[in-house]
């Protein structure tokens, strides 16, 4: 194709998205659209998969059967969300093995929040309440994104995510109504998860490089700072119901803006964790790679079994 023809196709393509039309796998798309979507969808899938690790840590130690069933179901949902997203991403022409390879070698990123440790049971509540709460705010606009398979996967994800946040809040509320030690445990979890949760919305708008293009393609509807503000505004009253204190002395209602003002985020910490130097980056990838390698014989055996069955079926068909 000549440069002029490509430019023409790109204009038609952008116009389709502007008209709210969806792009489907076999449609023509600019290389940059394909690459950006592969990057974002695969990172999203990886986040779901790595996100199981900090919680899996607590399944066997859940304090009651009710909590254990909820946590198991949540972790199973995350596996499912990873699978929806991996198959959506595969429609863009990257293989699942390639994506795993990128995750396992550290070439692909995943949400930095999962590089923090889960030290106490209260962390399960705090993750549900804050991390899933922030994820929902990030994800809801994606139900309307321009790439059809991604949008469809996100509709399923968002439907299921609401239970994640509610079970977390209920669990924390139970601790907050319990003994002073239990309440302290909830406060400690909030102290450790608050700032990393705010970082989940990404760098500030003036530092964010992809915003303009992402808005055009409906990968984003609001900027990082707008979403972060929305999260703070909705979470402060929830902390009041719990009766625990958000660890930010600068947090206060701004009548004029109609929003809460909040303190400065430690962006050095954010970039440290993104670059692989968070408390658990190495542990998470090590666990993930180990699970993958230890499962290799199962995958091979399943293929060998399927081939044997297929051969047997063929012979039976021939004989009859």
């Amino acid at each position: 194709m000549s440069e002029k023809e490509i430019k023409n196709l790109e204009e038609i393509f952008e116009a389709r998205i502007a008209r709210d039309e969806k792009i489907e796998p076999k449609d023509w798309m600019p290389e940059k659209y394909r690459k950006t979507h592969i990057r974002q969808i695969s990172q999203h899938a990886h986040s779901e998969i790595v996100g199981m690790l900090p919680e899996g840590n607590w399944i066997t130690r859940a304090p009651s059967l009710r909590r254990k069933a909820a946590l198991l179901a949540k972790v199973q949902d995350e596996a499912g969300h990873g699978l929806y997203l991996y198959s959506a991403c595969e429609t863009l022409g990257i293989s699942r093995e390639e994506m795993y390879e990128q995750l396992h070698t550290g070439k692909a990123k995943y949400s930095s929040i999962f590089n923090y440790p889960t030290l106490t049971w209260a962390d399960m509540g705090a993750i549900g309440w804050l991390v899933d709460g922030a994820a929902i705010i990030n994800q809801v606009p994606l139900c309307n994104t321009s790439y059809g398979p991604y949008a469809r996967a996100m509709i399923r994800v968002c439907k299921e995510e609401s239970f994640h946040q509610r079970q977390g809040f209920e669990s924390l509320l139970t601790l907050c109504k319990g003994t002073p030690d239990q309440k302290n445990m909830a406060q400690d979890a909030l102290n450790r998860w608050w700032w990393p949760s705010l970082m989940m919305f990404g760098p500030t708008d003036d530092e964010s490089t992809h915003t303009e293009q992402s808005m055009k393609w409906k990968l984003k509807r609001k900027t990082n700072d707008e979403l972060r503000q929305q999260f703070v505004d909705q979470t402060v009253p929830q902390a009041e119901i719990l009766g625990i204190t958000i660890p930010d002395p600068d947090l206060k209602w701004n009548e004029e803006r109609g929003h809460y003002d909040f303190g400065k985020i430690n962006w050095d910490e954010f970039w440290q964790v993104v670059k692989g130097h968070g408390p658990c980056n190495k542990q998470r990838i090590k666990d993930r790679v180990s699970a993958w390698e230890k499962g290799a014989w199962v995958r091979d055996a399943a293929i060998a079994y399927a081939e044997k069955q297929e051969k047997r079926n063929q012979e039976e068909r021939k004989a009859s």
Partner: protein, 94 residues
Amino acid sequence: MKKNWPLWEVFVRSKNGLEHRHFGSLRAADAEMALENARDVYTRRMEGISIWVVESKDITASNPENNGELFEPAQDKVYRHPTFYELPDELKHM
């Protein structure tokens, strides 16, 4: 030689009376495993009462590049729609 599990398309009937609808895809070694995985991945919340799985490579799909010749001919055949026909007002039901 390393072999990967093939890709399957999953169709779910959400209740009797409705058709099976495409829900998504997944990887599985064979059809039986594809069914079991589809149950776990796509019907954890009573979304379905029947599942079909089809290996993706067995689906023949039309190409959007041919959409013109495939679908445009229908655009100028308005006489296939009931509203094309002019009937008198006194005709109440038809």
